[in-house]
């Protein structure tokens, strides 16, 4: 009745909606737009104000408009280094999350094996775990691993990558299972007829057909890692600090550099906002493919 991954061609109903509906729509959507935009406006306008304006009485329009915070923010705090750290950690976490989730989702989708249901339930239930419960234990485990094997997980990006990729695994697996389920097994079969093993079928046939889902999962994993604060604050040190923790340094002993915080916030948000807006339609498809039962 509708196509995978596409929007239903939006046609107007044969009868035009009544005026009351149109007005309700206008009012509600306008209110929601203002609600959504207000903090965004504050972020942008505050980043353009000099420090004394932004800590003084609030004004709607910045005057004078100055871009100095965009320049100073790189020096007040080693923002570039934090940026690099975050990029490395999040990209690797996203890539690995996709890889691991793809394999797992393929197994769950294509095979019926003992423990399949248990696995799914366990993975879903990890969504309920309060992070604070396993923060210290995770820390202690990383230390033990470090002592036993010599692989340093604490304070290194590896530890954070492992943590973040696991945080996004449940949702990623769930989403990809939905995607894979909607790819007809006939495709797999055709590949087998051609002489591929199931793994090659995975790579040759299934993954290409599920690219939207994979991109979605990658961006979702990236976003989750990009925004995480608690674990980053405990598991990083000077050299590996990520943006989430680093932005706190704008609040120094003397001043809270609000304008720089806002400028840095905007710059830091651009990758994830752009990525999310690009992939949100795939997220929609993935949700329809998977969740509606």
């Amino acid at each position: 009745m509708h196509s995978l991954g596409g929007k239903v061609a939006a046609r107007r109903a044969p009868m035009a909606p009544p005026r009351s509906f149109i007005w309700t729509r206008r009012i509600v959507l306008t209110v929601l737009t203002i609600f959504a935009l207000l903090p965004l406006y504050v972020m942008v306008s505050s980043s353009l104000k000099p420090l004394q304006d932004v800590t003084g009485t609030f004004r709607w329009i910045p005057s004078p408009i100055t871009f100095s915070s965009y320049i100073q923010m790189w020096q007040t705090v080693p923002l570039a280094q934090y940026f690099v750290n975050s990029l490395i950690v999040c990209t690797c976490a996203a890539a690995l999350s996709v890889l691991v989730a793809t394999f797992a989702a393929y197994a769950v989708s294509r095979y019926r094996f003992r423990g399949r249901r248990v696995f799914t339930l366990v993975v879903l239930s990890t969504q309920m775990f309060p992070g604070i419960l396993f923060l210290l234990p995770l820390f202690l485990i990383f230390v033990s691993i470090g002592n036993a094997t010599g692989i340093t997980l604490l304070g290194s990006r590896t530890g954070l990558i492992i943590t973040y990729l696991t945080f996004s695994l449940p949702f990623s697996i769930w989403l990809l299972v939905g995607y894979f389920d909607s790819i007809p097994r006939g495709l797999d079969e055709a590949a087998w007829v051609d002489g591929c093993g199931p793994l090659r079928a995975l790579f040759r046939v299934v993954i290409p057909a599920a690219i939207p889902g994979i991109i979605t999962v990658a961006i979702y994993a990236f976003m989750t890692a990009w925004g995480e604060v608690l674990f980053a604050s405990v598991m990083t040190n000077d050299t590996t600090r990520t943006l989430a923790v680093g932005l706190r340094d704008y609040s120094t002993q003397n001043d809270v550099y609000w304008n720089q915080i806002m400028a840095a916030s905007i710059v830091v948000s651009i990758p994830v906002v752009v990525g999310f807006l690009l992939m949100q339609r795939f997220l929609v498809t993935g949700l329809t493919a998977g969740s509606v039962k």
């Binding site: 107007r12 044969p14 959507l29 972020m43 969504q127 775990f129 697996i173 929609v284």
Partner: protein, 335 residues
């Protein structure tokens, strides 16, 4: 069609098929060629192995350790040798559920606050999301832009958007007080939003602002699977817009809504980042949600045994609620 030699006792169960076009039609006919039966049996487990290993390492084993810690008296005295910390049996649990004692009372208060917070925030998020998705269903000029605007708050990292709200909620120079007091004159004097009773409202506002786009997205997805013909038929029958929504849209959305509400509930109940960035250390009592409370009770007062006990209780509560919810909704569906 699924590899017949995999360890399945039965062919693919129909209920497992996701209801999509073209799903797994040809099943039983393919015959496996080639050797490697053992490998085939092992393959799904092997594919799962990485995911399982990571989950064990990061989620499950730490969880078990956390549960173990809840049975120990782990304070700063034993922090260096936490394995040797004395066993407290159920002692920690007794303390945290003793509602006559200060700790239990504080926990109960925090629990009530969190329930109220979650109920209100989830309801509002869902309401806004549903309303916006339904109203934005038809295409009109600027719809794409509107959707981008609506979704941006969800995409922003928490520590940027919540800090902006903290900036806006400031007593002295925040935008909220400026608008309410200076411009609109609604309040006679500036109000506190980060302290006192209003801190609850501030927390709900920020949570709804961040989460309703997700509801919007999900409901939008769900709406796409409702056939237009249903609406057209209803319109021809004389049903107004409101009736169409009530009789067609909402029932069709029920499966989507059920999952959505559960997910929103779990995220909101467990949300640590929002109150942490909004209030810093030491949340004001009216907005002392349980995640912050446990953090204060364990990391800031060095009492990890009690903090773990509280976390375990929280987890049990969420498991019970989620389990009950899923049972209830699946029963309704099958009924």
């Amino acid at each position: 069609m699924a590899p017949a030699s995999t360890p399945t006792p039965a062919p693919v169960h129909p209920a497992r098929t996701r209801a999509r076009a073209g799903g797994g039609g040809h099943r039983a006919t393919a015959r496996r060629r080639g050797p490697g039966r053992l490998r085939r049996i092992g393959l799904p487990y092997l594919l799962l192995l990485p995911a399982l290993l990571f989950e064990l390492l990061v989620h499950l084993v730490p969880m078990v350790v956390g549960v173990l810690i809840s049975f120990k008296a782990l304070t700063q005295l034993y922090l260096t040798q936490w394995v040797h910390a004395p066993w407290a049996g159920l002692g920690n649990y007794r303390i945290v559920v003793d509602f006559n004692g200060a700790i239990g009372q504080a926990l109960l208060h925090s629990f009530v606050v969190t329930c109220a917070f979650t109920a209100i925030a989830v309801s509002l998020s869902w309401l806004f999301g549903c309303a916006a998705a339904i109203l934005a269903q038809d295409s009109f000029r600027g719809r794409g832009l509107l959707r981008a605007i609506f979704l941006t708050p969800y995409a922003l990292p928490a520590y940027t958007s919540v800090i902006t709200w903290a900036f806006m909620f400031q007593y002295n120079n925040g935008l909220i007080n400026y608008v309410l007091h200076n411009e609109l004159g609604i309040t006679s004097s500036p109000t506190f939003w980060l302290l006192g009773d209003n801190s609850f409202i501030a927390l709900v506002t920020v949570s709804v602002w961040r989460n309703w786009p997700f509801a919007f997205l999900v409901v939008m997805a769900g709406l796409q699977s409702i056939p237009r013909e249903l609406y057209e038929a209803a319109a021809i029958d004389g049903a107004g817009v409101r009736q169409q929504i009530r009789l067609i849209t909402m029932p069709s959305l029920r499966p989507v809504n059920q999952v959505l509400v559960l997910v929103l509930f779990l995220w909101t109940f467990n949300d640590f980042t929002t109150p942490y960035v909004l209030f810093g250390n030491g949340a004001p009592p009216p907005a002392d949600v349980i995640s912050m409370h446990i953090y204060d009770a364990s990391f800031l007062t060095w009492n990890f045994g009690e903090g773990s006990a509280m976390s375990v209780l929280l987890l049990l509560f969420l498991l019970v609620v989620s389990g009950g919810y899923l049972l209830f909704t699946s029963r309704r569906r099958n009924a």
